[in-house]
């Protein structure tokens, strides 16, 4: 067999190869490559979109968690502040009450002392008045009895004069 026949292209085969290949390019371009590649592109897009959405959701959850922690911390702080305020208020109330009580007591004591001294003065005055009255009475009684006697009156006057001179 002639070896050159292997490297001699046959016209008919070239013709049919052309037709088949060009037909394949045209048909596959429209009915195969376009749908397959567009489906792949679509899928790639949806995958990247989903990944983005997942990332976003994860970020949101993270921020939510952070928010929750912040809220809890805030609540703790508020509670502490409230407790502190309450304690302070209690202390204040107690001290205020103590103050008021001692002041009231002082006032009562003072007024009691005043009253006592007033009463004492009153009693003293009365005593004095009574002593004076009694003395006058006694003096009247004494004088009454003494002045009935003329000598005694004379003695008294003289004595008084002596004392004066």
């Amino acid at each position: 067999m002639d070896p050159m026949s292997l490297v001699t292209p046959a016209i008919g085969l070239m013709f049919w190869t052309c037709i088949i290949f060009i037909l394949l390019v045209l048909v596959l371009k429209k009915f195969a490559w376009k749908p397959i590649l567009s489906a792949v592109d679509q899928r790639n897009e949806s995958i990247s979109n989903s990944l983005l959405a997942a990332e976003k959701a994860r970020d949101e959850i993270a921020s939510l968690t952070a928010n929750n922690e912040q809220i809890i911390a805030q609540a703790k702080m508020d509670r502490d502040a409230l407790l502190k305020e309450a304690r302070d208020m209690k202390n204040e109330i107690i001290s205020h009450a103590k103050d008021t009580a001692s002041k009231e007591a002082d006032k009562i004591i003072t007024s009691a002392k005043e009253q006592i001294s007033n009463e004492k003065m009153k009693a003293l005055t009365e005593l004095k008045n009574q002593v004076a009255a009694i003395s006058i009475e006694m003096a009247e009684k004494v004088l009454g009895s003494e002045l009935s006697n003329v000598d005694a009156q004379k003695d008294l006057v003289s004595q008084a004069l002596k004392e004066k001179i």
């Binding site: 067999m1 002639d2 070896p3 026949s5 292997l6 490297v7 001699t8 292209p9 046959a10 016209i11 008919g12 085969l13 070239m14 013709f15 049919w16 190869t17 052309c18 088949i20 290949f21 037909l23 394949l24 390019v25 048909v27 596959l28 371009k29 009915f31 195969a32 490559w33 376009k34 749908p35 397959i36 590649l37 489906a39 792949v40 679509q42 899928r43 949806s46």
Partner: protein
């Protein structure tokens, strides 16, 4: 490339020297023993023919007849190749008498010029490849249209290949305007791949190992490359930058030849690789028959396990080569287009 050149050498050795050896043996040692000559069978298997040979030898062979389409001086003659009766009968159509010689070529008795557009074995095999490809890819496309999730079924096999061609062959070489050439390059890749793989089936045709097929494919590469070429590509050919004026008469023809050598290398590479693969497998199988004719039946039995193991090994290599050659042809074509369309730098 080493593997390629080695196999090219082997194939040429077989093609060129075996006929001489067998001729000399036919003349000198015809009487003592007739050593089996594998060359006719191998050449028959890797050549195109007007009928699809399944089994048997000579007149007893079982073949599928294929349509013969001839245009002889303006007359269209169509008949089945079985009408030749393996070359024994002439076919008469009007005033035209066709005969088939022992190589399977059709001649006209009155030496009229024939345009042979027959559906040969290779054309039939290519139509089979066309059907296989349309079936595979249109099913895949329908699947991809329906299904928005992960690819399933046949699509999960097709899609990674399509994406491999797009992302690893076409995009790196063509850059941003790859979309224009993608359908052509995808079809080219799968056309070569499917024909390579179909050629490996027992009894199949040697489509991509036929120079006419690779010629057409590389010619399309030539056309696409040069018709999409921009100013800087032609500038590099007709006014190579940085070359002294005195060298222009040498450089311009070299550059012009370069335009044709690139697709020419594509044509030879695919043809030689696939043909060589077929020749090696057929030669290894022929070893059994050569052993039988030389050493007798015992020798054939002894040699056949070795031969079968080698053939099995070669088959795996051929599957690899089927993918590799489709990859290389597509890669180089996109590289050439990329070089022709790249912006001046």
């Amino acid at each position: 490339m080493n593997n390629f050149s080695l196999r090219l050498l082997v194939s040429f050795l077989i093609i060129l020297f075996f006929p001489n050896i067998s001729f000399s043996e036919e003349t000198t040692s015809k009487d003592d023993s007739e050593l089996y000559n594998p060359v006719p069978a191998i050449m028959h298997h890797i050549s195109d023919s007007h009928e699809w040979h399944l089994l048997g030898e000579g007149d007893a062979s079982v073949t599928i007849p294929l349509p013969v389409i001839l245009i002889t001086e303006g007359n269209l003659d169509v008949f089945m190749s079985s009408a030749f009766n393996h070359g024994h009968t002439d076919v008469v159509k009007g005033d035209r008498v066709y005969s088939m010689d022992s190589h399977g070529h059709i001649h006209e008795k009155n030496h009229l010029s024939i345009l042979d557009l027959s559906i040969t074995k290779n054309v039939a095999s290519m139509f089979l490849a066309l059907i296989v490809m349309l079936f595979l890819f249109i099913i895949s496309a329908n699947k991809s249209k329906k299904n928005t999730g992960a690819p399933s079924g046949i699509l999960s096999f097709i899609e990674p290949l399509v994406l491999f061609v797009r992302d690893d062959i076409v995009k790196p070489n063509l850059g941003h305007n790859y979309k224009k050439f993608l359908p052509y390059l995808l079809t080219l890749f799968f056309f070569i791949l499917v024909n390579n793989l179909l050629g490996l089936l027992p009894g199949a045709a040697n489509v991509t190992g036929n120079i006419a097929v690779t010629l057409v494919l590389s010619f399309i590469t030539l056309i696409v490359t040069n018709f999409s070429a921009n100013k800087s590509y032609w500038g590099h050919i007709f006014k190579p930058p940085g070359v002294p004026l005195a060298l222009m008469p040498i450089m311009i023809p070299i550059e012009l030849v370069g335009v044709f050598t690139k697709p020419f290398a594509l044509m030879i590479r695919l043809f030689a690789n696939i043909s060589a693969g077929h020749i090696i497998i057929l030669s290894l199988i022929s070893l059994i028959f050569m052993a039988q004719s030389g050493l007798g039946t015992a020798g054939a039995f002894g040699l056949s396990p070795v031969s079968v193991l080698f053939v099995l090994f070669m088959y795996f290599i051929e599957i690899l080569v089927a993918f590799l050659q489709a990859y290389i042809f597509t890669l180089l074509t996109s590289l050439f287009i990329g070089l022709a369309t790249t912006e001046a730098h």
